[in-house]
Symmetry: C2
Subunit: 338 residues, 2 copies
Amino acid sequence: MRVAVDAMGGDKAPHEIIKGSILAAQQLRDDDIILVGDENTLSRELNTYGAIPKNITIHHASQIVQMDDPATYSIRQKINSSITQSIELVAHGEACAVVSAGHTGATVAASTLHLRTLKGVRRPGIAAALPTRQGVCLIIDIGANIACKPLHLFQYGVMAAVYYRCIFGIENPKVGLLNIGEEDAKGNDLVKDTFTLLSNSNLNFVGNVEGREIFDNKANIVVCEGFVGNIILKFAEGLSMSLLSTIKTEALKSFWTKLGLWLCKPAFEPLKAKMDFAEYGGAPLLGVNGICIICHGRSDSKAIQNAIKVALKLSKYKVNEHIVSEFEKINTLTAHVV
Amino acid sequence: MRVAVDAMGGDKAPHEIIKGSILAAQQLRDDDIILVGDENTLSRELNTYGAIPKNITIHHASQIVQMDDPATYSIRQKINSSITQSIELVAHGEACAVVSAGHTGATVAASTLHLRTLKGVRRPGIAAALPTRQGVCLIIDIGANIACKPLHLFQYGVMAAVYYRCIFGIENPKVGLLNIGEEDAKGNDLVKDTFTLLSNSNLNFVGNVEGREIFDNKANIVVCEGFVGNIILKFAEGLSMSLLSTIKTEALKSFWTKLGLWLCKPAFEPLKAKMDFAEYGGAPLLGVNGICIICHGRSDSKAIQNAIKVALKLSKYKVNEHIVSEFEKINTLTAHVV
């Protein structure tokens, strides 16, 4: 199988993207990586590594989507961008999956346009892993769709359950609905109607999940609209960094607390590892007809390496076939829902 | 001035509510506290303290709003509840402010019904303080209004700026709009239209604020709809507890990290103080014709004591008169907005 990697996307592109791709390629036996981007730049960068793994090739793309390009502009005016060209490789069957740490909006727009959605899927959604006390909680959607209907949210639950099964090996993951109270009747119209759809489904629906319960493993998957998901994911990043920096600043104020912090260091390591998004190998855009892994803009080689692994795992598990088969089962149930 | 305290509301009522009221009363010279609740229960509890401050009286209320009572039911069927009776005292001019750690929905509904909104205000909103690296960020709304229009959000900005000036002494606080990106054109229709209103106002509007920027002091006030505000506030609570408990669990695993944690303890104290909602004296429901302070359900005596102080400070500052005067200035600006 072949994974197309957008080598020009991300704060640390192309250096870390290429490094991550080489690390991944070295561990692959029968799979290949296609680096997509400016041929000269990529060749020069690859040559610094000496022997290039045979399973890495270059696919030329002359343009780059800049972070301040509007997503719609990028798909119309930059059809030769590394993002669009990577996705085109999947659309034409030349790759099974795409990995990009570039412009998220452009990746979502180009994937939806060129790969199209899977049969029955109304809107694709991005599922991101949030570390909790005892594992991870998958939040879907974190920003692909900010004008949600109940059916979109319901479908996110179905798709995320298939994905969770594939990646985390839990057969019947608990699905929750992000809301402002635990009671069934809480929330705005969107969540109330979604609650009904989820309650009547064959998902392992555990009801409403409040903000604080995300960390209590009440649910393996938490469904929310992209606007809310995006805000809480970034909020989690800001809050974690703020807490840790406050502890550090305070600890550096005296000799004994400084010593204490030094001794305590190993206790912070598992936390840092947990909080390191690079461990999770990016967030899949679920619902498009192809595998698309969206990585954090700050992704380093480890993040890219893991994202490539996840992309291949999803392809081999045939996650999209499983999603389509789930949708065939539920389509009769939701056929009347607009 | 007199503050009505709902003595039956909150997880630790009436014990901690009464204790907090006594602590506050002992520090007041010319102000009084009216404890609202079941007369027998309150008298019995007060008697355990020996000498009761002369500036504390009891106002009998025979009913209690339970946490699982729907808000609409409570205002219709429990008109003799401690919440409604406390608010009635303000409505009838017998108290200048109400403090409650009881059912938030019932407090919002009863306040809106009995106090009415201030002239020009469309919807009241709850403003809560979130500790950041260098101070606090005020989030409005955190759950009073989950069906927001742009004008509601805009008005939250105006009211919160007056409140911030009063409590934190900053003349022209920075107001931001919670959104999924920094660029002006980001977000759903609600935030886009709110962005325009805020941009054209005389507020110190700093533009869109992303989830992670809340902790960077980009804005003193962050405006959002109640659904999102409620989720992130509870999310912050869950994430902070999860992070600290992970550090503790890991540190207790070996002798040296355990010793380190013990030495490091003083470094955690400022963080704990920052995170302690009791320090902030509750969250005001801004926009009703009276002062209403909503406390956390888990409020202890310190939280109640601080909430009473805040209530009196707002009354003396005549925060509502300032809000009305601000609204008179802006009404010509927003007269065409529905």
